[in-house]
């Protein structure tokens, strides 16, 4: 039991070996003046946590891709200059789509010497993982998790660069109302279709109270589980209600299924307006089911389409034969944001990185947020934008400042 097994150091760590190592470091540290430290330029280890197996594997893959691309780019540009050009080293952890596995990976990253963690994707994983990281004051950057609970806990180590649930729904409703007004108010009736988990139910509840205030009539709210294998009944119900607008909030598989079933049954509302839609701004959906995807509008995380860096990233991802989605841009931006913080902290010391993140006014990311400004860990400028699938492309249609194309609304 006491002999460390070759090949996995943290499993075989004994108390004695830790003490020895600690003593050695303590003995060497005063001698190793800054010059030596600078000469060594040890790699800066950052943890990338994504669910690459299990139900969320598709999203996790995209997130990892974004983080990887940012790391490669930073390293190619000379690494962290304040640390003598130290390279970023990715410690990847598979969250296996469960909070326990996420926690376990945080523990491993902590043991392997990560100075910060980026990722999580789903809210439950982010909640558990950031809490585990908080025990070690390990900075944790939430990539996607929109649950408002994540930021409501007041954890000093947790930062969210993207928008939370409250912000997304407010913007989604404002933009919908405005878009409808601009088109001469063609949409009056709505059917909500939502998955019955954290995100779908929460959103549906909010929309049910908010939509009537803005002049829309909610005809019905239809819940379905995730995963759902059949949407025929949902589609039939929509057909009989004949709403102007369908607002779905569900994950990739269910969204695709719903859109395809509606297409097969020739149900054509004036608009399909997804809020944080699972597939509505995913390149794979557009590629695989172009007809079903036509004119679907989404209010979601999306990169700034005027940002050349963003366009280059999108091209690079597509050249690799992979589909592009917001996970890529969010993880890419988060890693860049973290690298900037480490650069300004001039150290891999966790407290200094947290301090640097709090003071961050980083504009080198590719999201339409402006320079970052963190208040209690939440980036105040974060906002979703509206995209629409037009032809074989996903175009930004709203707000006007970022629009690449005019909204095709009403679609019929």
């Amino acid at each position: 039991m006491r002999r460390p097994v070759q090949g996995f150091p943290h499993l075989g760590l004994t108390r004695r070996s830790v003490l020895k190592a600690g003593a050695a470091v303590a003995a060497v540290a005063p001698l190793a003046a800054p010059s030596i430290l600078r000469a060594q330029t040890a790699a800066v280890k950052i943890g990338i946590l994504q669910p690459v197996t299990g139900a969320l594997a598709h999203d996790g893959d995209l997130g990892r891709l974004g983080a990887e691309m940012a790391i490669n780019e930073i390293n190619a540009a000379g690494g962290i200059k304040a640390l003598g050009g130290a390279k970023l080293e990715m410690l990847f952890g598979d969250a296996r789509s469960t909070p326990e596995a996420g926690t376990q990976e945080v523990e491993r990253m902590q043991a392997d010497g990560a100075c910060a963690i980026v990722g999580g994707f789903a809210s439950p994983i982010c909640l558990a993982a950031s809490q585990a990281a908080a025990r070690y004051d390990l900075p944790y950057l939430v990539d996607v998790g929109v649950s408002d609970q994540i930021m409501a806990r007041g954890l000093k180590n947790t930062f969210r660069f993207g928008p939370g649930f409250g912000k997304v729904t407010t913007v989604a409703l404002d933009n919908l109302t405005r878009m409808n007004e601009l088109a001469g108010k063609p949409a009056k009736t709505v059917v909500l279709v939502h998955e019955d988990g954290l995100f779908g139910s929460g959103l549906a509840k909010l929309l049910q109270t908010e939509l009537p205030k803005r002049g829309f009539e909610v005809l019905e709210t239809i819940a379905h589980p995730t995963p759902a294998r059949d949407m025929s009944n949902v589609a039939l119900r929509i057909r009989s209600l004949n709403p102007d607008l369908v607002i779905p909030s569900n994950y990739y598989g269910e969204f695709v299924l719903l859109a395809r079933t509606m297409q097969q049954q020739r149900i054509k509302p004036k608009g399909v307006y997804a809020v944080l839609g699972g597939a509505a701004s995913n390149g794979r959906f557009v590629k695989e089911f172009p007809q079903a995807a036509q004119n679907v509008i989404d209010c979601n995380h999306w990169h700034d389409p005027r940002n050349p860096q963003a366009l280059a990233l999108r091209k690079a991802v597509q050249e690799q034969g992979k589909s592009f989605a917001y996970n890529v841009s969010l993880n890419y931006s988060n890693v860049k944001l973290l690298a900037d913080a480490i650069e300004r902290a001039g150290s891999t010391d966790r407290a200094k990185i947290i301090e640097a993140l709090n003071a961050s006014t980083f504009a080198g990311h590719i999201m339409p947020y402006g320079p970052t400004k963190f208040v209690n860990g939440q980036n105040e400028g974060a906002t979703p934008i509206n995209t629409q699938i037009q032809g074989d492309d996903i175009k930004v249609i709203f707000p006007e400042a970022y629009a690449e194309a005019k909204a095709n609304f009403p679609a019929v």
Binding site: L11, T14, T53, Q104, Q110, Q131, A134, R153, G202
Partner: protein, 337 residues
């Protein structure tokens, strides 16, 4: 039950308790805590499924009840976490009794009982996903407040010892069941319920006691899960994953044996975790190992790993005095299954 009966339990638990003194790495401790929580829940399943022969596919119903009871009492009514955990055990026992009363009284056995438990767990999941009391789909988040009085510890080792203590207590309990009149009646019901009834065993009462006990132990595991990870939602607490975990561990380790659930949980999760370390960072390698162990155990180790060891021992030590052999057979009533 004599002190001698408890020696293997004491030795193993004693060794396990020394582990945090040697292995100080948090990932290992964190993994061990999760594994022990699964083992504890699986021990609960084993009381009903292993000794009583009533295979439940829905032990999530108890696990989730324990987890939600612990969380809700703290969050909604400010009850102390330790008291919440005690209440979770009681709630698990009560839910177990209620489900047992409804299904056993109607004479549901075998696959019908399994399906009913599955349905109960699913109903609980849907209710928890919708009700405001359980936080609906948003789940419940227990605030991070690291104080021993709050059942949250700064040192992972303390939580490890705590869970280990509970596992040890249930090992003793299982050992007692094995040796007691109640255990004999339970095994009789498992082997042939009609024959047991003919001999005067009140089979409904025996099964109800077993399911209440089983529910209480599994609920304890749920409460500890909530207190350790501090976040639960309907899919975590009442999800199908935990029902499967809790029945796989004893099946792999040895159904109806004292150590089976612990051995099974350790083997399934331990090998997966070790594979993850050796196989570089290939995502999903642990799941492949998990599946392989499962297939191998089902194909070659009837009666689980302990059953296999038992058979190997019997074959290897044919020269043992007959008394020793009969004793082993009695100890592992399920070895031949």
């Amino acid at each position: 039950m004599t002190v001698r009966d408890l020696i293997p339990v004491l030795v193993l638990v004693g060794l396990a308790a020394l582990l945090p003194l040697v292995v100080t790495a948090s990932p290992v401790l964190n993994f061990l805590v999760f594994m022990l929580i699964v083992a504890l829940g699986a021990q609960g399943w084993n009381i009903l499924g292993g000794f009583g022969g009533q295979f439940s596919f829905g032990h999530a119903a108890f696990f989730g009840t324990g987890a939600y009871a612990t969380a809700i009492l703290q969050l909604r009514w400010g009850v102390n976490a330790w008291a919440g955990l005690a209440a979770a055990v009681a709630a698990g026992g009560a839910v177990g009794w209620a489900i047992g009363f409804l299904s056993f009284r109607s004479g549901l056995r075998g696959s019908y009982f399994a399906l009913v438990t599955l349905a109960f767990a699913e109903v609980f999941r849907i209710l928890a996903n919708a009700a405001p009391l359980t936080g609906g789909a948003a789940g419940l988040l227990i605030g991070l407040d690291v104080r021993p009085a709050n059942l949250q510890f700064a040192d992972r080792a303390v939580f490890y010892w705590l869970v280990l203590g509970f596992v040890a207590a249930v090992l003793v309990l299982t050992r007692w069941i094995q040796r007691s009149r109640f255990g004999a009646q339970l095994v009789a019901v498992r082997e042939n319920e009609d024959a047991a009834k003919a001999l005067g065993v009140d089979s409904l009462r025996v099964k109800l006691r077993a399911i209440a006990l089983s529910g209480a132990v599994t609920a304890l595991a749920g409460g500890l899960y909530a207190q350790y990870f501090l976040y639960i939602d309907a899919n975590i607490a009442y999800g199908g994953w935990i029902s499967v975990e809790l029945l796989l561990a004893p099946i792999i380790g040895g159904v109806g044996t004292v150590f089976g659930p612990v051995v099974g949980a350790l083997t399934l999760h331990g090998l997966g975790e070790v594979a993850k370390q050796f196989a570089g960072r290939i995502p999903g390698i642990d799941l492949i190992v998990f599946g392989t162990v499962l297939v191998l155990a089902v194909a070659f180790a009837r009666g689980g790993i302990l059953g296999l060891l038992e058979r190997l021992r019997d074959r290897g030590v044919g020269m043992l005095p007959p008394s020793a052999k009969s004793r082993t057979a009695k100890e592992v009533p399920n070895a031949g299954r």
